[in-house]
Amino acid sequence: MNDIELDSKIPKGSLEQRWTQHKFNLKIVSPANRKKYTVIVVGTGLAGASAAASLGEMGFNVKTFCFQDSPRRAHSIAAQGGINAAKNYQNDGDSVWRLFYDTIKGGDYRARESNVFRLAELSTSIIDQAVAQGVPFAREYSGYLANRSFGGAQVSRTFYARGQTGQQLLLGAYQAMSKQVAEGTVKHTSRCEMQDVILVDGKAKGIVSRDLVTGELETHMADCVVLCTGGYGNVFYLSTNAKGCNASAAWRAHKQGALFANPCFTQIHPTCIPQHGELQSKLTLMSESLRNDGRIWAPKNIEDCDKAPEEIAEQDRDYFLERMYPAFGNLVPRDVASRAVKLICDEGRGVGHAIDGKKLGVYLDFAKAVEIHGLDAISEKYGNLFDMYQHITNEDPYTSPMRIYPAVHYTMGGLWVDYNLMTSIDGLFAGGEANFSDHGANRLGASALMQGLADGYFVLPTTVSDYLARQSPMDLDKDYPEAEQTLKACEEKIERLMNAPDPQKTPDEFHRQLGQIIWHACGMAREKETLEQAIKDIQVLREQFWQQVKITGSDKTLNQTLERAGRIADFFELAELMCLDALTREESCGCHAREEHITDDGEAQRHDDDYSFVSAWQYSGNVTEPKLHKEELHFEFVRPTTRNYK
C-alpha cells in the first residue's frame, strides 16, 4: 500500500473566479496533436456519453464501452423529474449563489464549496446545450421554457420534459456521441464490461474488458481512463436502479489504489412504490415532482390503518410533513421526508401490504390538487407517472391516493476525486454518480442530471485535456506486461467464480441476503451494534458465497448468471466498507442518521468539530482493514448551520 497525500487541488481566490481562473491555468493540447491521444470512457450514461461526445469533437481518439446493448439504455434514462439550473426565468430570486447555497445546505455541509459552486455556475450552459440539441423541455403557452419546484428549494428552477427528463437528456448526449462515432473520433463497444484498470508505472493506461457475448477477455490501452459507471445502490438488492447497475468498475479501481469516498452516503428516496412481494426484483420510483401537488398523509389512529383511505375522515388524517415542517411542507429534502415516513410507519401508522408483519407505506394524495387545478391539469403534468403506478399496483391514483415508501435511489459516495475529477490514481478520472464530488451527505432532487452533464460536457473535457497535455502519447501497439498480468488476474477471478467448491445457491439468493443485511444496518437508520453485527454477517456470507455460489453454463459465451455473480462479489466487499464508514462517522448528517446522534425532536445532529471531513478509504490489500484518510472541509463562504426546513 502506497502512502497517499490527499490533494484536492481546490483553487484559491474568490469563489466566482475559481473555475474561470483554473481553466486558464490548465494546459491544452493543440488541435493538431489531439488525434495522437486516446481516452477510454467506461460507461455511456449522461456523464460518459457527454464526455465522449465532447472529447471526440475536440479531436481526441475516444474509446467507449457499455455493458448494455446500446449507449441509449444507460440508467440515466430513467430519471423522471428534471434538471436544475440557475436561469432565474421565474424572476423569483434565483441565482448561481442560491443554487450553490441550496446544494451545500441540502448536502448537510459535507461537500466542497468549490466543486458545488462550479456545478451551479455550469448549470445554465447545460440547459442551453440541451435545448440546442433538440431536447423537448416543457414550455409555457408563450413558447418559453417552463419550470417547476423541487424539494429543498424555495425557487422554481427545475427544467423538465414531462416525467421523462432523463430520457430526453440522455438521448441528446447519445445522439451527440453518435455523431462522433459516425465521424470516427469515438469508437464504441456495447455488451462489454470492464473487469479491471491497467496501471503502467502507477498510471491508469488501459482496461481489461469482457465481451459479454463471446466471454473473451481483452486489453485496451489508452493515455488515460475515465469512469462514468454510475452508483452502487444495487448493493441493497432492492433499489430503484436498473438491474444491471453495478459498482464493479469503481470497486476494481478502488482495489487498484483509487480511494473510495463517503461510501455510507446513500440516498433513500421518499416516494417509491412500496414492496409487494418476495419475488420482487426492483422498486419503482415515483418522481419527487409529485410532491409539488400531492399531499403526504397517514391515519392519525392505528385502528384506521386497515380502512380504505376514502373511509378515513379528514380530521383523522395526519398530513405529517406539513405538520412537522410548515415552511417547506411536502417539499422538504429527500432525507428529511424519508425519515419522517419511516417514523410514522415505525409507530405502526403505515398502510398497505404488510412485509414481515409491518405495513410499510403512507398515502400521497392528489384529491386536493385535482379540486384546485382540475383533472386535466394534473393529468398533463403527471399522466405517465399515474399510468405507471396503475400498471404496477393495479390501483387508480386518479380515484384513490397512491401509497409510497422510501427506497434506495442514489449514492452520493463514490470514487474520491480532486477538483479535476481525477481519482487518487494518476490518469484515472471519475464523473457522474461514480464520483463523490458534489452532493455531500444528501442530493437534492433534479441535481443528478445536472452533475452528470456538468462533469461530462464541461469539466472532464477541460481537465482531461490538461492531463493529456502533460503526457507524451503512449505507444499503443507495444506489448505491456502489466496488461497481460491484469488480464490473467481477471481470468483467475472468473475461474474461481465458475468453480466454487460446493456450488449450492444462485447468485441472486446471496444478493437478496446481502441486501437484507445492509438495508437493515445501513439504510435509513444506523446504530453502532447493528453495524458491527452487519460487518460480521457480511464477512460470513461473503465466505459462503465464494464456497457455494452456483453458476451454470460456460464463461466462454453469453452468461448472465456469471455477469451477476461477478458484480455481487464486488458488492460483498463494498457493503462491508459502507458499514465501516457508517460506524466510523459518529454523527448524523444528511442521509446518514445514526440513532445515537439525533436531536430531541428527531433531527440529524451533526458534529462539525470532529466530522467536517470527507472519508476517503484506501484499500490495504485486505478488504477488512482499509485505511481512512480525511479530507477536511473548509467553509469560507457558507456558514454551516443546523439545517432547518421548519
Binding site: A53, D69, D128, P136, Q167, S178, Q560
Partner: protein, 243 residues
Amino acid sequence: MIFTLHIWRQENAQAQGGFEKHQIDVSEDTSFLEMLDALNEELIEQDKEAIAFDFDCREGICGSCNLVISGTPHGKHKGTTTCQQYMRDYADEKELWIEPWRATAFPIIKDLIVDRTSFDNIIQAGGYIEIRTGSASEANTIPIEKHVSDAAFDSATCIGCGACVAACPNASATLFVAAKVTHLSTLPQGEMDKQRAEKLLTAMEEEGFGSCSNYRECERVCPKEISVNTITTMNKLLYESSK
C-alpha cells in the same frame, strides 16, 4: 397461477433454435420478467443453464426488454413494455409462447436476446442535431410554440426497443426512423438538416430492414404509442426536400 411456458432457446446465431416447455406457479402480482427470473433460479438449481433475455431498468423506459409473448411484441397489455406486463394481465390464459424479436436486421445472439446495433447505426447516419459543446445560444432565445414542442416530445419518447420492427410483416424500421425525424426536424433547432429523413431511410435499408407498406402494425405494438402520423410528417419533409 400455473402457466405452461414455451420458451425459445437457441445457443447462438448459427445454431438451430426451438421451443422448450416449462411449468411455473406464480402470484398475479409478479411481473412477466420476475416470472422468468423465478424460472431461471429453478433452472440453475437443477444444474441447467438460465434462459438469456434482455432487461435493465424494469420500469418501461430503457428499451432493453423485448419479448414476443404469444405472438405480440411486448405482450397483450398495450402501450407498455415487456417488463411492465404483470401476470394478472394473463389470468385467462394457461399457455404462453415466448419468442425473441424476429428480423434479419436483428440477428439472434442467444435464446431471447437479439442484436439491435442496427438501430444505433441508423442514428449515426444523421439522427442528431449538430451543435458543438459550449457553442449553444441562450436557451430562451428561440421561443417554440407549446403545441410544436409537445408534438416533438411525443415522437421523442421512442425508446428504441424495436417492437415496431418485430410486428411489421416487412420488418421495417420506418416508425423508428419517422419518430426521430419528426422529433428533430419539426423543432426550429433541427430544421436545417433537410436531408435527415433521406439519410436515415438509406441507412435503414442498408441495415437490412424492409420498407413501409402501411400495415400500421408498428403503431399497434409501440410501447410509447408513437403514431404513424410521424410517417406522414416524414414523408412531407421528404417531398419538400426533393422539390
